[in-house]
């Protein structure tokens, strides 16, 4: 293990439902306030109480926020998983445990440090109440870690004050518990350890927040008034957070009434139907779901595509197929979302890779959906959605106006020289004018349907009119490319090979790019922000001999999409995949690329010959 300052991974093994989450968050947040880059990951079971749960925090002084998988310190509080937890610690690392009962000698290793804290004994002595004994055990080990890792004690107490602002009588006992741990660790062990933290001063302002809360805030700021949803992990907290903030920020000051409506639907089909109905009638509406929900929403997504109704769908991806691993992360709904529904359909996708982007892209989704009159799917995932990430703070410009797209008012209908045609491509960009119901007594009414229709929304089975409409939808798709966000380039220095990635793969991919460059392998890097792909994406591919597409699914779904949509030879895009449900690490990406390189070099002479001929 690296006995480095500001560079380690600590993992907490707990039992689900014992109150460990808030103590572990306290620990992580204290490091964040000391200016360190942290990337906490909750590894939790699909269970309410009793099963093992882990909280893993990577601490890094260089600002890398991707996951790293060598565990330097394990806080093993769960006897159920202890054998496995001990095995996971790297040689030279630390295993912190409750030694109120002696440890099973068979579990001992002589290459790691066992740090026993009599947590149960301390709690029995200090507290009478059973629940308190359980809860404070967690806070006590955080106090001990403060001593071991050199965490500034003031930072911890300040956090306790912030956390219990509304319940002041809890402040004292919590601070006391921290002190108990700190004291025991200082009195009985050499502290701090060589592995420890030191404050990093930085002028950059940062926030620590999960992506789902950021999406919810985006929906609030974008003016979404209707949320229709069905509970599903890991997307539930999007609507929960929307409700929390709506209750705070969207209550009419005069009447006390709500300027929003949240409907918990009977299933995802219904949730999507409600979103379509509300958007059709002129409100900004959204839903949040995960893979199984997308499957159920597919029929309706086809309707929204074909009838041209705005939809905002926030998909917090989890490991599929089917129920898959509902509490693990993946990027495996790319194709299911890009082409959701039967018939020829294509949907706009956005790929955030930080909470700030979750916020910005959620806001953008509403503008795009209304401008383009089509579903926009924000593809986040469990890792981004449910874990805390260090992010740039949110920003807003008060002069910003919502783009409600091409909607005719009563006055505009009055002054139309031609009859109103809902599917008439007046401006040649494939986007037609729509009207909200109840706009004008005699003008602008039309029939919305999932069946084929002529430019005036009249039902037709005329094949040529059908084709005209489908071609217009394709024209709209071309227009879309100029509206969706362009890719960003981590490096574009004319290297032979490039790397393509998106969403939560960005942090480890960029770390891998840096580390590969340090060992003499320089790759250019592009992060995709949206589908359809704009010209910059195609050019980046064109300008490199070979590209690695790094993603977290089995089948290389983004690679398939790039091949299909950009007309790239499949052999030019090499998939680097990791899909075990845990966020991919820079190490895995580096190793897979390193292993793939000689293979490429072997085929290159042949290829360049072909090109020369």
């Amino acid at each position: 293990m690296s006995h480095a300052v500001n560079d380690f991974v600590i993992k907490f093994a707990n039992v689900n439902g014992t109150g460990s989450a808030s103590a572990n968050t306290l620990f992580a947040k204290s490091l964040f306030r000391m200016g360190l880059a942290i990337s906490p990951k909750n590894i939790f079971p699909s269970n309410i109480q009793g099963l093992p749960t882990w909280y893993e925090v990577r601490v890094n002084g260089d600002g890398y926020t991707g996951r790293r998988d060598d565990i330097d310190i394990m806080v093993g509080m769960n006897p159920q998983s202890m054998a496995k937890d001990i095995k996971e610690v790297v040689s030279g690392g630390y295993f912190v445990y409750d030694n109120s009962k002696p440890l099973d000698l068979r579990l001992m290793r002589d290459d790691i440090n066992f740090i026993g804290l009599p947590l149960t004994d301390i709690c029995l002595r200090e507290y009478d109440d059973a629940r308190q004994r359980q809860l404070f055990k967690n806070v006590i080990y955080v106090g001990a870690l403060a001593a071991f890792l050199n965490i500034e004690f003031d930072v911890l107490t300040k956090l306790i004050h912030d956390q219990f602002k509304a319940k002041e009588k809890l402040i004292g006992p919590n601070v006391h518990a921290l002190e108990l741990g700190f004291q025991y660790a200082s009195d009985n062990f050499q502290a701090p350890w060589p592995v420890r933290v030191e404050r990093i001063e930085s002028s950059k302002s940062r926030i620590l927040i999960d992506g789902n809360t950021a999406c919810a805030l985006g929906a609030i700021y974008a003016g979404a008034t209707v949320a229709a949803w069905y509970p599903i992990t890991p997307s539930t907290s999007v609507v929960d957070a929307y409700e929390t903030y709506a209750k705070r920020l969207r209550i009419d000051p005069g009447s006390g009434e709500k300027n929003f409506a949240i409907v918990q639907a009977e299933d995802e089909l219904s949730a999507m139907g409600m979103v379509i109905g509300a958007n059709w009638n002129g409100a900004r509406a959204f839903t949040a779901t995960s893979g199984p929900g997308v499957s159920l929403m597919s029929e309706f997504l086809g309707l929204a595509y074909f009838a041209e109704i705005p939809v905002v769908l926030i998909n917090i991806q989890r490991a599929g197929p089917s129920t898959g691993m509902p509490t693990r992360s993946q990027q495996s709904d790319i194709l299911a979302c890009a082409y959701a529904s039967h018939g020829d359909t294509k949907h706009v996708l956005l790929f955030p890779s930080s909470p700030r982007e979750c916020f910005d892209m959620t806001v953008a989704s509403f503008d795009l959906a209304e401008r383009l009159q089509t579903p926009v799917i924000l593809l986040s995932d469990l890792d981004l959605g449910m874990n805390d990430w260090i992010s740039e703070p949110f920003a807003w410009d008060d002069s910003r106006r919502y783009d409600r797209g091409k909607v005719l008012s009563a006055e505009q209908l009055e002054s139309l020289e031609q009859p109103f045609g809902r599917y008439l491509d007046v401006e040649g960009d494939g986007i037609c004018y729509r009207t909200y119901p109840c706009t004008h007594p005699t003008k602008g009414a039309f029939f919305t349907r999932g069946t084929s229709r002529d430019p005036y929304a009249i039902y037709t089975e005329d094949g040529s009119l059908y084709v005209e409409n489908m071609e217009r939808l394709n024209k709209k798709w071309e227009t879309t490319k100029s509206y969706v966000p362009a890719p960003s380039f981590y490096a574009d220095n004319g290297a032979r090979y490039g790397m393509i990635y998106y969403g939560t793969t960005a942090a480890p991919a960029e770390e891998a790019l840096d580390k590969l460059a340090n060992t003499g392998i320089a790759l250019d890097g592009m992060r995709i922000h949206a589908f359809p792909f704009n010209k910059e994406v195609e050019n980046f591919i064109k300008n490199h001999e070979m590209l690695f597409v790094v993603e977290q699914n089995r089948d290389g779904q983004m690679q398939t999409l790039l091949v299909t949509e950009c007309g790239v030879a499949p052999s030019k895009l090499k998939s680097i995949l990791n899909y075990d449900g845990m966020p991919v690490t820079a190490h895995v990406i580096q190793e897979k690329i390193r292993n793939a390189l000689p293979e490429i070099d072997n085929v290159l002479p042949l290829k360049s010959k072909t090109i020369k001929n």
Binding site: Y221, G273, P437
Partner: protein, 350 residues
Amino acid sequence: MSYIRPKIRHPETPINDIGYTRKNYEGSLSTLCAGCGHDSISAAIVQACFELNIEPHKVAKLSGIGCSSKTPTYFLGNSHGFNSVHGRMPSVATGANMANRDMIYIGVSGDGDTASIGMGQFAHVVRRNLNMLYLVENNGCYGLTKGQDSATSDFESISKKGVPNPFEAIDLCGIALQLGATMVARSFSGDKEQLVPLIKAALCHEGFAFIDVMSPCVTFNNNKGSTKSYEYVRDHIETLGVVDFVPMKDEITTHYKPGSSQEVTLHDGSVVRLQKLDEDYDPHDRRAALDKLKESQEQGKELTGLLYLDPDSKELHELLGTTQRPLRSLTEEDLCPGVNVLEKINLSFQ
């Protein structure tokens, strides 16, 4: 049915209080089979809206898929319509209603669209007491796919193919009552006198108003042995009484002998008056309505009329506590908390 509808109207064509003729409430020509019960229902909707002085553009017509779901094209041509997907009209109607509580929502569905593929959504839109008229054009069969039995087809009713239905029928009125619908009625497409006032009451009711209309399929389910044929329905109808709908502005002039009629005042002040054939029947009593339905069923009768009406109904917007203003009319000023608030939010995550 294809014929050209004459464009000229008689100069003495009646005009309603807001200056519209019936023509302003009509839609495009029906493409259903000649004699289809559904066309009579469309005509009843036209008449009800005309008589209620509803501005057509303030109505949204929604449907699912099937013969019944085609009909919103055939009435209220100046209203926006939405022919959604099979069995999913309730969710689209719910969303539309959430966006603008000031409009009138008419959902038209069929027995397949409601009692089979749409059963889940139907159940939940009833529970939510969405402010809408939900009208099922019930013919006991699937017309567009050529006459398969539907879930409302009665046990042992014989289809055109001559096969008795081996399954129990779903009684949509019974289900609506059990799930808490705040207005439940059953009628017959051939009985305009009864149907029009029921539709008017439903349109004025604040909450979920369900009307199950027996609407025979002349092509696939009008044969001997079918319990959904014109002849069978006419012969077996049992009505709870005549329903009068008296708008708020009108004075009640007719009088009935005590005990024979019951009046229900709606939110908007209109009165629904039931001239009862059964003096003991109380349309405020949900359990009695269920009993009466069961009793008629056992006697092989088709019970029609106003089964249940709750004048104190609280519709979904009230239950959720949403603003009185249509949500869709709110602007950036109402909705966006602005940069100062966002900076405070940022601070809370530092």
